[in-house]
């Protein structure tokens, strides 16, 4: 119902997440930031976003920060605005791929970057201490509502991507009632694109389907419509448009794991950056693709925080891209923010440059089969489970950085603790056929601990 962590504040509104959390977290963030600098806020279309926005604005004003409110926009739009106006930071209000009753606050630093683990820890300490900066009546911040956030963001995208080259594609998009609809409509109006949108109405209470960017979600409405509308490519965005998944012109729903290897394949030959940062649960295809271009994959624990820390411990020009198996990818061109719209333009650019269809690109990669499972388990028994599994699979190469990952040539599994519930996730992949037997045996072993 409520999770307060280094990623920020997340919970079910009313039952876990209360106005007190929102005001205190905003005041903690205002205390954490350099005094006197403007803070950019925006929100996704969830109905509770209205309440959270009021609390965030009040909390920031009370710590002496002026606030620029972009209204209902995607998280990347907020991140771009922070850098453009030289703001001290930003707050993105929205629960992204979670169900409608959830909401969350994501905190962004100067330049629109995510907070490092150390910074996020400091913010958390201020929140728990509740010793907030309190300005007197002469110092209370002011609110400005800014409607032009999306246009300014699109200008930055236009400077990086060749819109001319990709405008000819017929693209179908499932907006899942989220913020991508606003951006894509504006691309149609202002740049003459012909994006065909479904589930484009912003919804505060119920989304057309689960707002996650999985292969299953692509298969619900987007994939079946691809051939009837004769689309060249199909994209599904989550509510705050930082993640994306694809469907091909043949109506195939593509695994969410494919976005990162495809974009690695496109970006690695283009720049000097040769490192791909990703987590331990992501497909091995990314290693194979990186190797083709002389790149190297750096695998870190699951979660945005570990990826951010890995990025900041390198020079930006060393890195080609960073991302997850969820369809969330960060590119150096956009100073490492997860941006589904930018990822979409990457895929379209790749199609334009290669002059081939999306299905051909997707199906041109060697086949990897991944199986994922979730087992609810008392957290108390997890250490014992992991040790026993490590003993049982001693013939593989073990990695205990985040749960347990064991690698064999062309095959691996990862058992890790969920960040949102008392459960363990089991991920198992093999080049070629699915590793059914290994997966079943792992699930069985895990279940014996329930």
């Amino acid at each position: 119902m409520l999770r307060i962590s280094q990623v920020g504040l997340r919970g079910v509104v009313g039952r876990g997440l209360t106005p007190a959390h929102v005001l205190d977290f905003a005041a903690a963030f205002g205390t954490f930031l350099q005094p006197g600098r403007c803070v950019v806020v925006g929100r996704d279309p969830r109905a509770s976003g209205r309440m959270l926005r009021e609390g965030v604005v009040a909390g920031l004003m009370g710590t002496g920060h002026d606030v620029m409110d972009l209204g209902v926009v995607s998280t990347p739009v907020i991140q771009h605005a922070i850098r453009r106006v030289g703001a001290g930071g930003g707050v993105s209000i929205g629960a992204s791929h979670n169900a409608a009753e959830w909401n969350a606050l994501k905190f962004l630093g100067p330049e629109g970057v995510y907070l490092s683990t150390a910074e996020a820890g400091e913010l958390l300490d201020i929140y728990h201490l509740r010793k907030f900066t309190r300005v007197d009546w002469t110092g209370v911040g002011r609110l400005r509502e800014e409607a032009g956030g999306i246009d300014a963001y699109l200008e930055e995208l236009a400077a990086v991507f060749d819109f001319e080259a990709v405008r000819r594609f017929r693209v179908l998009v499932d907006c899942c009632n989220g913020t991508s609809a606003l951006i894509l409509r504006r691309l149609n109006e202002r740049y003459g694109f012909g994006f065909v949108l479904i589930n484009e109405k912003l919804e505060g209470r119920a989304f057309a389907h689960e707002p996650s960017t999985t292969k299953a979600a692509v298969g619900l409405q987007l994939a079946p419509l691809m051939q009837p509308v004769r689309a060249d490519a199909g994209f599904l965005f989550d509510v705050d448009s930082d993640r994306v998944a694809v469907a091909t012109e043949r109506g195939e729903a593509v695994s969410e794991e494919m976005i990162l290897p495809m974009l690695a394949d496109w970006l690695l030959p283009r720049g000097e950056g040769k490192i791909v940062i990703t987590n331990l649960s992501v497909t091995g295809l990314v290693d194979e693709v990186a190797a083709r271009h002389g790149g190297r994959v750096l695998r870190v624990p699951v979660g945005r925080q570990a990826a951010i820390d890995a990025i900041t411990s390198h020079r930006p020009e060393q890195i080609a891209l960073a991302g997850e198996g969820t369809g969330a990818v960060m590119m150096p061109q956009f100073r490492f923010i997860y941006d589904g719209i930018a990822s979409m333009f990457g895929v379209l650019s790749m199609m334009a440059e290669r002059g081939v269809g999306l299905a051909e690109i997707v199906n041109g990669y060697p086949r990897y089969s991944i199986l994922k499972g979730l087992v609810e388990l008392s957290t108390r028994r997890i250490p014992q489970l992991l040790s026993e599994l490590e003993q049982s699979y001693r013939d593989g190469r073990a990695n205990r950085v985040d749960g347990l990952r064991v690698d064999w040539p062309g095959r691996w599994f990862h058992v890790r603790v969920s960040q949102t519930e008392p459960a363990v996730r089991v991920i198992c992949e093999q080049r070629g056929e699915a590793p059914e037997e290994l997966f079943e045996s792992l699930i069985g072993r895990v279940r014996s601990y329930v």
């Binding site: 079910v12 509104v13 009313g14 039952r15 209360t18 106005p19 007190a20 929102v22 005001l23 205190d24 005041a27 969830r46 109905a47 509770s48 209205r50 309440m51 959270l52 009021e54 609390g55 604005v57 009040a58 909390g59 004003m61 009370g62 409608a100 009753e101 959830w102 909401n103 309190r134 300005v135 007197d136 009546w137 002469t138 209370v140 911040g141 002011r142 609110l143 505060g204 209470r205 119920a206």
Partner: protein, 452 residues
């Protein structure tokens, strides 16, 4: 130095110094308690022009939404206008973010029920209990309410009510030259519109920029209205009006630049209203005996209530009064407009009175009986209040006494009222008599008895 109450959560709402004391968190919590008390539905939220107002409005809106209310944001408006808005739109209640006449570092939440009235004493106690219980019933995403803005209709609704009673045509016909000091408050824009568009006056205004801080002490009274007086003299105005930051209080300056005693302003308006509205008069215990004599001219009775707008309003409702008010703080309450202190009602009636009688303000005041008045303060130590009041009463055996709000001692030719301040360890004294000598004698005896 006397201990100041920098935060006060009590039966009059929440009031405090913004920053360390009155925080957005506290305002948000209180709004949740308020929502729990009035129930799910529309709540009207507005504010005066204090710099801390928007912050508190966002905090209050957050709390109201979280507890299942929808919010009608009416923006910067005078408190009486907000109250009328609540009543007319049949909202569940209203919250005005204003510390009224208090200095700019203060702000407060004024709370209204669905009729746009202050809660009665028992309701206020229940509300405070809910706040202290801190177990707010919150709604989830599916039941989250809306925020609707209406910055337009508030002034119109208010003017329409006043114009049911004030003959605007008569006022317009005279094209009075009027001075106005709006203290850059919530009434700034609305008062300009009222005096020019509605009442057709030739307006000379100062301090009517709501984006600027208060240029003077916020309470409108003779000591703070020097600039208005100078404006009236310089421009040759027929009358000058001074407002407080939330537009409920009114002070008046005559054509010579002399700022009237607020009791006399109330008396002039009461005289004008009783000409046409039948009913008695309610004032507080500290209000001048001028009111009794003016009411007597109309064969009407004056009832007295403890100090405080809510107390006066309660008594007015009980006796079905035609008009009421509190002299010392410039409050005029006309139920036919709304049960609230309203500077617009006062301005309208005074201008109409001038138009009808053809008299100047000083001539109108000259027609009022004359009393001598004196106000003062005496500090006391915490814990000694009860003893002080008791000994005071014992010093004056046989004198008629009223104990409903502090102690009021009444002689046939004068009175003195002693009451403790709500916010500081101070006794407030008000005395009145027919002559200066008698006034000084009474005042001196009481101050002596208090050891001051």
């Amino acid at each position: 130095m006397a201990r100041e109450h920098l935060l006060k959560i009590g039966v009059s709402g929440v009031r405090g110094v913004v920053g360390e004391f009155l925080t957005p968190q506290l305002a948000c919590d209180f709004a949740q308690a308020f929502a729990g008390y009035v129930g799910r539905g529309r709540v009207v939220v507005g504010r005066d022009t204090r710099g801390s107002g928007p912050m508190l409005q966002h905090a209050v809106t957050c709390g109201l939404l979280a507890a299942g209310c929808s919010v009608v944001d009416v923006g910067v408006l005078p408190t009486p206008t907000i109250q009328i808005y609540v009543a007319e739109t049949r909202a569940r209640g209203g919250i005005a973010l204003t510390a009224s006449h208090n200095p700019p570092e203060y702000n407060a939440l004024k709370l209204f029920n669905g009729e746009g009235l202050f809660f009665n004493q028992y309701e206020r106690e229940e509300l405070i209990d809910l706040y202290h219980q801190s177990e707010f019933r919150l709604v989830g995403n599916a039941e989250m309410g809306l925020v609707v803005r209406d910055y337009e209709s508030g002034p119109r609704r208010h003017f329409e009510r006043v114009l049911r009673l004030v003959n605007a045509e008569k006022v317009r016909g005279r094209r009075f030259r009027v001075g106005l000091d709006g203290v850059n408050g919530a009434g700034s824009a609305m008062s300009v519109r009222y005096l020019t568009e509605v009442l057709g006056c030739d307006l000379r205004a100062i301090s009517v920029d709501p984006s600027q801080p208060f240029p003077r002490e916020a309470e409108p009274k003779p000591e703070t209205l020097g600039e208005l007086a100078a404006l009236v003299r310089r421009e040759g105005c027929d009358i000058g009006f001074g407002q407080d930051p939330d537009g409920d209080r009114l002070a008046v300056c005559d054509e010579d630049g002399h700022v009237l005693d607020n009791d006399d302003v109330l008396a002039l308006v009461v005289d004008a209203v009783l000409e046409r509205v039948p009913g008695d008069v309610v004032v507080n215990l500290t209000t001048s005996s001028v009111l009794d004599e003016v009411a007597a001219r109309h064969r009407r009775q004056v009832w007295r209530a403890p100090v405080g707008e809510a107390n006066v309003v309660e008594r007015m409702q009980a006796v079905g009064a035609a008009i009421g008010g509190e002299g010392s703080n410039g409050g005029i309450i006309l139920p036919a407009v709304h049960y609230c202190r309203d500077s617009y009602t006062g301005m309208g009636f005074l201008l109409e009175r001038m138009a009808v009688t053809g008299k100047t303000v000083s001539e109108l005041v000259g027609g009022l009986p004359r009393f001598r008045r004196r106000m003062g303060k005496v500090a006391f130590e915490h814990g000694r209040l009860g003893q002080l009041m008791q000994s005071l009463e014992e010093r004056f055996p046989g004198v008629e006494a009223d104990r409903t709000d502090g102690l009021k001692l009444m002689w046939p030719d004068g009175w003195i009222h002693v009451r403790a301040s709500n916010t500081e360890p101070l006794l407030r004294l008000a005395a009145e008599a027919r002559t200066e000598e008698r006034l000084e004698e009474l005042y001196g005896r009481v101050v002596g008895a208090l050891g001051g």
